[in-house]
Symmetry: C2
Subunit: 353 residues, 2 copies
DNA sequence: CTGAAAGCGCTAACAA
DNA sequence: TTGTTAGCGCTTTCAG
C-alpha cells in the first residue's frame, strides 16, 4: 500500500480484517464467533474480508481471554516399576503398542472432533514427571483430562481429582474417589467366559490372570471363579501373569504342568490368550478340541490369531466416546457432580473355544 | 452461583508472585525463565514466593507473546474416509491399532519430553477435515508438525510443505518436495529378505508387492529383484496386492498357479505375508519346509501369526526420535533447509523362513 | 446493532 | 541489576 509501511507480510490479524471490512474489531469478532446481533449485510462483508485476508484466529490470544483451549489431554500414567516386569520392553513401548490404546484414541476422537476439540497426549512414567504434569495441566494447557491409570498405587487419579480440572478416568479408581469414570462390567465379562467354557463341556478349567494389584485383573479373576463355582467347579487354578503374550505363555506352561488334563483356559486378556495358544501348541494340544481358550478384550490380535480367539469384547471405542462426552459435559458445566457409566461386555465366539 | 462468596480460588498470576516477593513482574519473569542477570538473593526470594503461591505460568499468555506453544502436532492423514463404526474396522481404528503408530509415538516422546514439548494428535481423514486442519495449524496451535501420510494422492504433504510451518514427514514424499523426512532404506530391507531366502536355499522365489503407486512398495519390489538378480535369479515373478491380508492371499494364489514349485515368497508387508501363509496352508504347503515366507514391518501380526513371521524390521522408535529432533531443529532455526535421514532395517528371523 | 476501550497474563525493550 | 512500560491478538462489557 503506502510506501512508508514496510511489508504487510505475515499472519493477518483481526485488526486487518476489520480494516478491510471497514468495521471494528469487535464486529469481526462477533461474526467469527457467531454472535447473533450483527447486521446480515455486514456479516457478508466481514466474511468476505476474512476470506480475502485468509484470516485465522490466533489460538493463544483467544485462549488467554476465554480461558478455554478447546483441547483435552489424554494422560497415560503408570507406576514406577511394575510388579514383575522382567521384560526389556519399556513402559511407553508397551502401552502405546497395546491395541487397547489405539481403540481408546479412536473412540475419543469420534466424540472430540465434532466438538472441535483436540487431543494432547501425555505420559506420566515417574513421580518426577507426574509432578511436572500437574503443573502443566494447571497452566491451562488443556480444558480437561482423560486419565488412563491402572496401577492402584498411582497417586495421579487422586491428585487430579482434587484439582478443579474436569476429569474422566478410563476405569473405576482403585480407591474410592469422587471422580467420573467409565468402565466395563469386568466380572460379568469373566462370567460370560465361564458360561461358555462350561457350555462347551470343559471339565478341567484354569485361568491366567492379570497382575492382581490391578482392579480389573482382580475383578476378572473373581468374576470367573464365582461363576465357575456356581456351575459346580469350586476350585479354579490360576496363575498370575502380566497382560503380555510372553507371561501368558509362561503362566500356561505352569498351569499345564500342574494339570496335564486341562481342557479349558480363560486368559484375562487377548495377549495372554495368545501366549496360552502358543504354549498349548508346543505341548501338542489341539485348540479347541483338546483345550478351549477364551480371551478378553477382543483386540485386533484376536482375529489375526490362528485359531482366531473366542473372547470377551469390551466396547472400547464406545466407552471412549462416552468418556469424551462426559468430559465435555464437565467442561461445559463446571459444577457437575461425578458420575460413572458401566458398559456390558459381550462374548465373541470364534475358533478357539 | 450462590449468593455467598466462596473464595474464587484465584489462580495466582505473575503479579501476585511479584507482590509477595516484593519485586516487579519483570524480575519474577526473569527468574522463572532463567534469565541470568538476577541477583542470587532475589532469585531465592522469588523462588520462595513462587512456591508459596503455587504459581504456574499461564500457557496462553506466554504463547501469545513468545509465539511459541512448546507443542507439536502428530498429523495422521489418510486418503479415504470411513465412518466410525464398531463392526467394521475404520481407518482411525486401523491406524491407531497398528503397532507402527505406538512405536512412532513412543519414539517421538523420547525426544520431545527432554525438550519440554508436548504432542497433539490430529486426524485428517477427509478433504474437508484437511482444510480445517491447515487453518488450525496456522492458528499457531503448534510449533511444528510430524506428518504421517502414505497415500501418494494425499495433498497434505504438499500443502503443509508450502506453509512456513516446520514439518517432518514420516517417509519420503511420493512426489518431489522440499520437505524434511526420515525413512528406512526400503530397498536395503527387501535385499535382506532376498539374502535370507537365498541363504535358506530357496530356488524358486516370488514376491507379493504393495500398490506400485506407493513409493515404498516400488522400492521394496525393485530392491528385492535387484538383490535376487545379484544372487543369480534374474527373473522374479511378482503380483501386485494392496497391503491387506486378503489381497495377499489372492496374489499368492496366482503366484502358486503360475508356479506350483514355488519355495520362497517375499511379501512387502506382514499383512500380505499372513495372506500368503493362508493361501499356502490351503494348498497343503508346509511353512517353511515347502515354502519360506518373509514379511516386512515386524508388526504385531508377525508375532501372532502361526508360524510366526520372519520379517524386515524398521527401527521405528529411533526413526521417530530422529524426526522429533529434526523438527525441533527446524523450529529453532526457521530458515533451516530441508534434509533427510535414512535408517537401516534389520531382519528378524522367526519361524516362517 | 455497532464501536470504543479495557484488559486476559506474560515477555521484552528500554530506562534507570 | 532491576523496574517501567508497551504491547501480543482477542473477547467483552459498556456506551452510543
Amino acid at each position: 500500500m503506502s510506501s512508508d509501511r514496510p511489508e504487510p507480510a505475515a499472519i493477518p490479524t483481526l485488526e486487518h480484517v476489520a480494516v478491510v471490512a471497514g468495521v471494528s474489531r469487535a464486529t469481526v469478532s462477533r461474526v467469527i464467533n457467531g454472535v447473533r446481533n450483527v447486521d446480515p449485510q455486514l456479516q457478508e462483508v466481514v466474511r468476505a474480508a476474512v476470506e480475502q485476508t485468509g484470516y485465522v484466529p490466533n489460538h493463544a490470544a483467544r485462549a488467554l481471554v476465554t480461558r478455554r483451549t478447546n483441547s483435552v489431554a489424554l494422560v497415560v500414567s503408570e507406576g514406577e516399576h511394575r510388579a514383575f516386569d522382567a521384560s526389556d520392553t519399556p513402559f511407553v513401548g508397551r502401552i502405546f503398542t497395546d491395541p487397547y490404546f489405539g481403540r481408546l484414541v479412536a473412540g475419543l476422537f469420534s466424540a472430540l472432533r465434532p466438538a472441535a476439540y483436540s487431543l494432547t497426549l501425555m505420559l506420566a512414567e515417574t513421580d518426577e514427571i507426574r509432578r511436572q504434569l500437574v503443573g502443566y495441566l494447571r497452566q491451562g494447557h488443556v480444558d480437561g483430562v482423560i486419565l488412563m491409570s491402572s496401577h492402584p498405587q498411582d497417586p495421579l487419579p487422586r491428585i487430579l481429582a482434587e484439582t478443579a480440572l474436569p476429569l474422566v478416568l478410563t476405569e473405576r479408581p482403585s480407591i474410592p474417589l469422587r471422580a467420573t469414570y467409565v468402565d466395563v462390567a469386568q466380572s460379568a465379562g469373566a462370567a460370560l467366559a465361564a458360561d461358555h467354557l462350561v457350555a462347551r463341556g470343559c471339565k478341567s478349567v484354569a485361568t491366567v490372570s492379570g497382575p492382581l494389584d490391578m482392579g480389573a485383573a482382580r475383578d476378572r479373576l473373581s468374576g470367573f471363579r464365582d461363576r465357575m463355582a456356581r456351575h459346580g467347579h469350586p476350585y479354579i487354578p490360576s496363575v498370575e501373569a502380566n497382560f503380555t503374550r510372553e507371561t501368558g505363555r509362561l503362566a500356561t506352561e505352569r498351569l499345564l504342568a500342574q494339570n496335564p488334563a486341562l481342557d479349558g483356559i480363560f486368559a484375562a486378556n487377548d495377549l495372554m490368550a495368545l501366549g496360552a495358544v502358543l504354549a498349548l501348541h508346543e505341548h501338542g494340544k489341539r485348540i479347541p478340541q483338546d483345550v478351549a481358550v477364551v480371551g478378553f478384550d477382543d483386540s485386533n490380535v484376536a482375529l489375526a490369531s490362528r485359531p482366531s480367539l473366542t473372547t470377551v469384547r469390551q466396547p472400547v471405542e464406545e466407552m471412549a466416546a462416552e468418556m469424551a462426552r462426559m468430559l465435555l459435559a464437565h467442561i461445559g458445566q463446571p459444577g457437575r457432580p461425578a458420575s460413572s457409566v458401566i458398559f456390558e461386555p459381550t462374548l465373541v465366539v470364534r475358533e478357539s473355544a
